[in-house]
Amino acid sequence: MSTTSTKDHAELAGQFNADEKRVDWHDETLWWIRQKRDKAVNQLPEWELLRETASKIKEHGLSNLSNYLEEFEANAQANGITVHWAADAKEHNEIVHGIIKKHGVNRMVKSKSMLTEECHLNEYLTENGIEVVDSDLGERIVQLAKEPPSHIVLPCIHKKKEEIGDLFHEHLGTPAGVSDPQVLTETARQHLREVFLTRKIALTGVNFAVAETGEFVVCTNEGNADMGAHLSEVHIASMGIEKIIPKREHLGVFLRLLTRSATGQPITTYSSHYKKPRPGQEMHIVIVDNGRSVQLGRKDFRNSLKCIRCGACMNTCPVYRRSGGHSYHNAVSGPIGSILAPNLDMEKYADLPFASTLCGSCSNVCPVKIDIHDQLYKWRQVIVKAGYTTKAKTAGMKMMQWTLSSPGIYHAAGKAGRMVMKYAPFAVNNALNPWYKQRDMPKPPVESFDDWYKKNRGNK
């Protein structure tokens, strides 16, 4: 578990950066999605009011969460839904496994749920002899590749269509060399239709859970959550405690924000409101804490629980776009993942709050106005104080402190740096200098500002 045995963000980003063309493609594609978001957002003059309202609704919801959870539970039960409570990932997985076992089946279809990724449900069920098929196309692709999703909305954004074609050739029998997205999607449609029609149990995530009515809303473009749920005899929905919103009318606010922020669409194709099981069907909701109540108690970080998982902060992030989702080694990647993960394991994820330029673009696009870059900065203080930074970073910081604390040393160091870069550039332009990776070092200035000032203004 120590930082030395786990590969950190910089190291994993280095691997991703080995293929420069792919990095450029990744960067440009995500930026294109960010631009689509801007286009959609600019059509609504009330956008900022919407964001502010959503943020305040979530703030209120978190301040009264215990009551809303109880209200939601009571209403869901009255609607005929069985409600389960899981304190952590292990309990969540055991509850789901228990429901599957009770029905005597050994396979299940699942739609997108980042919570089940967080809980490593697939691995747990597989170890217990249950086959799980992910039904979102992107998730099915990464499942076949035996990889985790690299983006919460676009799970296989790191993959090229030729690689997907190879996977489909190996697992789904498409002819070798086929990489047309239309053909590959049609193949997945046929393959997954068979799965939907033969699975008795379906698990979905939850986008919003309404305390007032006890219903939950699931949003997809593909229709996979609905295909699984309505064809199943047992529907299990997994949700974190923070998915609660007080009233049904609040859905209007969140559904207007969610997809515009995510992909620039005005709304997802399907926004399905599940309130009661179909006659003869069993419906379960598993409400999961897994560290969220702890985060709720962290004043500086509780706003992270407002997140509605749109992924806008990833699409806009200059670091995410160039380092790829897998470099964050956590179920939720990017800026939001970097403020959620340290709450789960501060040592394992100590590197993530540093995987940012603190440019603030994430906070600017966040539909619920989470102060993401401020929280990244604050996590750095917490992590350094707790002693979880690497030795190299600690030593570097000490050196900087020494240099910056004395004008004499600072000037000498500046001069030495300019000399080295001018007369011996090979001393910095080499693999030993992490700043040189995927970058050219800048041309050194001829003189420092201080020297220039002395020369030009010094005697005035």
Binding site: I33, A87, G223, H230, L251, T268, S272
Partner: protein, 199 residues
């Protein structure tokens, strides 16, 4: 202590001081209420739906018969379409038995101009899986039921409604492979909207 109590007491202990719930009424009044029909048609077309403005059910039938072959399975919750669609038998089927439905024709009493979505209730679906499992979906909408925004939409949906309902906006789609848009992911490959005007 049960899990439930454990979680609730941890939440109770850690939740911040109660803040006020904001009013959302002002968002409703901001909406662009002009040209709802044009706005709805434009947005629905942009998200991949085909929009037909019709004068009568007979016109709907003609378009459907020209578009879809007579030999395929067509079902509908609209009783007046019983001459071109199964409006009864399929209700007794198991959900999986609807796998071969080619076209489902449903009615919606609520459409949203800002995003091209229509609200379909469980009753209007006949069977919950129908609007998703069908290869093609057609929905009839009275233009007087078009509202401006999602705020207006939720104002007009009864809170005590049925066990299931969905906003459906266009045909099913995915862009998971290299962000190339493909219509027809797991649900319908097309969505036709028949707009009529009746008081």
């Amino acid at each position: 202590m049960s899990n439930r109590e454990k979680i609730l007491s941890a939440v109770r202990a850690n939740q911040p001081e109660l803040t006020a719930l904001p009013e959302i009424g002002s968002l409703k009044s901001l909406a662009d209420k002009a040209n709802l029909l044009t706005q709805f048609t434009t947005v629905a077309t942009n998200i991949g739906a085909k929009v037909f403005e019709v004068k009568s059910l007979a016109e709907v039938k003609t378009i459907i018969q020209n578009k879809f072959g007579a030999e395929k399975r067509v079902v509908s919750t609209i009783a007046e379409l019983s001459d071109i669609a199964d409006t009864k038998e399929y209700l007794g089927d198991l959900p999986v038995e609807l796998a071969d439905v080619e076209l489902a024709i449903l009615q919606s009493d609520l459409a949203v101009a800002e995003n091209g979505a229509v609200w379909i209730t469980e009753e209007q679906m006949g069977q919950r899986v129908l609007p998703f499992i069908t290869q093609h979906l057609a929905v009839l909408v009275n233009t007087k039921n078009i509202v401006a925004t999602m705020h207006d939409a939720y104002s007009s949906i009864s809170i005590t409604t049925q066990g299931f309902g969905a906003f459906v906006a266009g045909p099913s789609k995915t862009a998971d492979i290299e962000q190339s848009l493909v219509i027809g992911a797991h649900g319908p490959r097309s969505m036709s909207l028949f707009l009529f005007n009746e008081d």
